[in-house]
Subunit: 337 residues, 4 copies
């Protein structure tokens, strides 16, 4: 922690600050500059930095240690490769997750699974518990949906992922899933993170709608400190003042996150944009920026989907997108998983 | 729903749009303007408006119905008065909630309860389950904390409120509390909202850090449609680009919310600002803007608090604030509850 | 400047960083902590901190000196009192600026001036050059408007203020005005700031729609370093994701700015909210938070105003507001100028 | 304009609203729905919609006409191709602008021009008048810089572009430049837009840091209604709550803008990110999303640049980037200009 002192500080105040820090267990070193004097306070102690900011004579306080450890690139230099069944995510691979927003019926998920697998997707997605903004909207098929999803995954050789919204559902869901998904609205639902982390299973952690990159990594830290080291991050758009687009897909976050953490990061072009015709350009932009994969909504009959039809690709659009990603992959030095 | 057609639309496209809407169950009326032609589609049907936006020849679509009903001022013109024990919130009253961030010990909560009661607070707050950004930080005393809080509330004649973070805690907490608090991070934790709403008990619903006013009212709608009509809203600062202050307390939301809903709205100056010396000016600003009350953090020894000490008022500061609110109340035509 | 080194840094890298800093003219001190090592670099030199951030082995860099000097509270501890004619702004005064959005005719401004003066306003505002979002909207009366404004100000004993939008208008406008206004859109129009600053006249500097408090103070620094020390800041709402209100009036900025600078800060409730019925609650909230005054739009016939009629108060509403501010002033230890 | 009436509106209020609209020159049609009744008001009249919103009995008002006309895709269906000297921008071309942040000397600009030309850039950029946040920073060489820039452009066969910050500089700058640049801070400096538009010359219009896409198109409308139809838009990052990256490059804006306007849109990866190692991934992402080009900062000695060295590519990095863009162009069905 670096403490910048006010310019006109007197000796008594300066010593009071030093003594406060020493009492809290810090070792204090002083740097006298031409304009400012600073204290460097080092040690294992933790103090709310606002406590120090409020001491008389303090101009500002700057924390030094990062609040996340396990997720940090400093702790682990090489890329983490996450294994979901036989699928590997991270490094020089581009892994494509695809499937409908929600599992709606056995037939629906079997049909979609077949077509996305053929086009090159490696993980099958499908919601069974849907967090909906309106209490009056379709909330998912529940466990029945997971059964269909599992059946489809097994038939077409794809590990499966689905969103969890309630800590008490975790044991039941763990029996079906290969990977848990934490949605944007639950990124800081710490009770849920702790329970999911304890399973030790792979987790896809979506970024909250107004989460900073640091808060996102802290949420990963919750998962990791609870027991899993198989975390994949997912950028899905943030909320900004711009309303012509649904969210602002923060593509600059991709290379920035890769500097800060060893965990793989993928992108979700479907929720970010909310409309079908922007999904392909944003998919390509994500891959071009260095993302380790995508999670894309595909539906065999988007116009009849129970939820999010407008952002779901038709199977033929998804095939075209997969060919474009294939062509793009060599430009960025990667290959499709 | 209003559908604005593109200027150069042909007859075939126009009729295709009309027929789509009719099939979905709408009655369609046409308004031909000098620059634009619009369709008005009325009826009980619901369709994802993005479906309509994607039809060829459609320039834009404007929803008309509000997504919230029970919370709407149109449904209920007069102010809702929420009863928490003997305390009433709403109308021309200013109700002050006060207490520590977290219950830390029996002695601590008893001491604080006594001093805030004497100064004029009517509801006692204190956290027992703390949602913390870091997995390594103090997470609260749990049920033991609720026992102390209840004892203090009973001794000093104040109903009590505490934050709930896990749906499975609700039955246990209901035995202690007079009012549930839903924190900002859980405003869209719909599983939690449904379970808390079912208790029928009063709920304080904090606004999420990046929730629009409409989303906030939709969260209230979740509570109300699950079984409670005793909801108090709480503005606690939103996230903006400005980082010199911790959050941006959205005081303009107070009069705006009062136009949109019949539910009372109060403000939280402590979490909004994060620092003690801004709590009093923001408290006065909230009351001046028309808020129905405040929830303020007070600690007998802020410098020793387990969490959020820097934003907690000293008891003497809280007393001074209560006197200022008293003086201010007549300017806004209200009185302290 | 504080340079945090990466944990695993080798001696060669460390010495390369030290030597880079020394070459740039800094004196370097080292603080070795248990987790991190930091360099403190002191001296008069200036270097783009991104240069240092990119050196190998550097984890992060923290600037210490504030970029604004003349505007800083550290340079000048006591409040600056700005004089506009016989009116004083700052300290324990509340100064009310009022008048129409735009000067529309001699009769209009004379009538409004009379009524706002009677109600207690001390400075008369009125736009002559209007920066409008649409090129097809009313752009103001120009110099003719200033003549009417000056006549009204003289007749009713009020100094006058009007917005300047073009550097080449400054000499002409200086002949009429007592105070220049820099609008939100021009806060970082540095060419304009330099020319206006050179006049040495008082300036009202509105905060840009997405300006940080620091950038706002840097704009004040432009004015001050160009030749005026008579700067009044004006908070007028910032852009956030919330669209139910026009802008988000950042009332927390008022006490924060007062810590950072000695310059007075007032608020503009009219542009912040855009609608008449929110002007009074936001006015009271601004004064309650400690603002040194307000600039309020008042029109004798808002329904016929050429611009911004909907946010203009009727004279009778303004009178009521002035009485409420009078009552509120003693609560915050101030009095109306 | 669509006027949604309150549910419980009486006949008198309804007729008062209708009569208000008719007096303003509108033709009014009524649509009676099951939940809401709306008025459609059509005609050439213009009224501040807030006027209507404030009428008693009105729930909300929805504008229908877009405020921009000349820039609208509805007015002109086919892509505008902008000509800057012999260079064409728009359609299936990818045009690369490159050069230093500021012209620093004759030698510097000649050297950089040579290397970017060789690598494939088609337009040469270089600042002569720099809008700097701090009054104490390097402000550019002025006209001397333009002379060097022109000399370099002629020698290496590239049209030149430079930023204009003061309306009074326009005639002088028009003698040197092939294209004007309006910077982000001046996007709503309407006086400047009007004077630059009048020259009829090509203009690159950067998006303001917190400008909506609609405001950006309105600024283009200012240029177009003043006399030029040669406008290229440039996305350069917006301000959001995220501070780990300098700005948030709004790549979703690229396909969205292309739906709304016929004008070409390019991206600026250098100012968006502020750091060299993020320029290449963001450049590729912009091209992948469909941008018509890029404006990239390149410096022969970034470590000695007078401004923005840290975000300037080395010539060798720029060459590599050009090769990657070449490879990427066929994936998006375009070719390098």
């Amino acid at each position: 922690m670096i403490i910048v002192l006010q310019k006109n500080i007197g000796d008594t105040q300066r010593e009071a600050i030093r003594s406060f820090l020493v009492k809290k267990g810090y070792t204090v070193k002083e740097i006298i500059g031409q304009e400012e004097t600073v204290f460097g306070a080092v040690g294992q102690s933790t103090v709310d930095i606002r406590e120090v900011e409020m001491l008389e004579g303090v101009a500002s306080v700057v924390p030094i240690s990062k609040p996340y450890k396990l997720a940090s690139r400093e702790l682990k230099k090489e890329d983490t490769i996450v294994s979901v069944g036989k699928v590997k995510i991270g490094g020089n691979r581009i892994a494509i997750f695809a499937g409908p927003c929600a599992v709606e019926s056995r037939e629906q998920i079997m049909s979609i699974a077949e077509s996305v697998r053929e086009a090159g997707a490696v993980i099958l997605r499908g919601g069974a518990f849907k967090p909906r903004t309106s209490p009056y909207a379709f909330q998912g098929l529940g466990e029945e949906g997971l059964q269909y999803l599992k059946e489809a995954g097994e038939k077409f050789g794809m590990p499966i992922i689905s969103e969890v919204v309630n800590p008490s559902d975790v044991p039941m869901m763990a029996k079906y899933l290969d990977m848990f998904q934490i949605g944007a609205r639950n990124m800081q639902n710490f009770e849920l993170l702790k329970v999911v982390g304890k399973t030790g299973m792979p987790v896809l952690l979506k970024r909250g709608l107004c989460a900073t990159i640091e808060e996102w990594l802290m949420a990963a830290e919750y998962l990791m400190s609870s027991g899993t080291d198989q975390v994949v991050l997912c950028e899905r758009g943030i909320r900004t003042y711009e309303r012509a687009t649904r969210n602002t897909l923060d593509i600059s976050a991709i290379p920035m996150v890769q500097k800060m953490t060893h965990l793989p990061v993928i992108g979700d072009p479907s929720h970010a944009t909310g409309v079908r015709d922007m999904v392909s350009p944003m998919s390509l932009a994500l891959v071009a920026s260095g993302a380790s994969g995508l999670i894309v909504e595909v539906h065999n009959h988007p116009e009849k989907a129970f939820s999010d039809g407008p952002q779901s690709l038709y199977p033929s659009q998804f095939e075209k997108l997969m060919r474009d990603i294939q062509a793009l992959s060599s430009v960025v030095g990667k290959s499709l998983e």
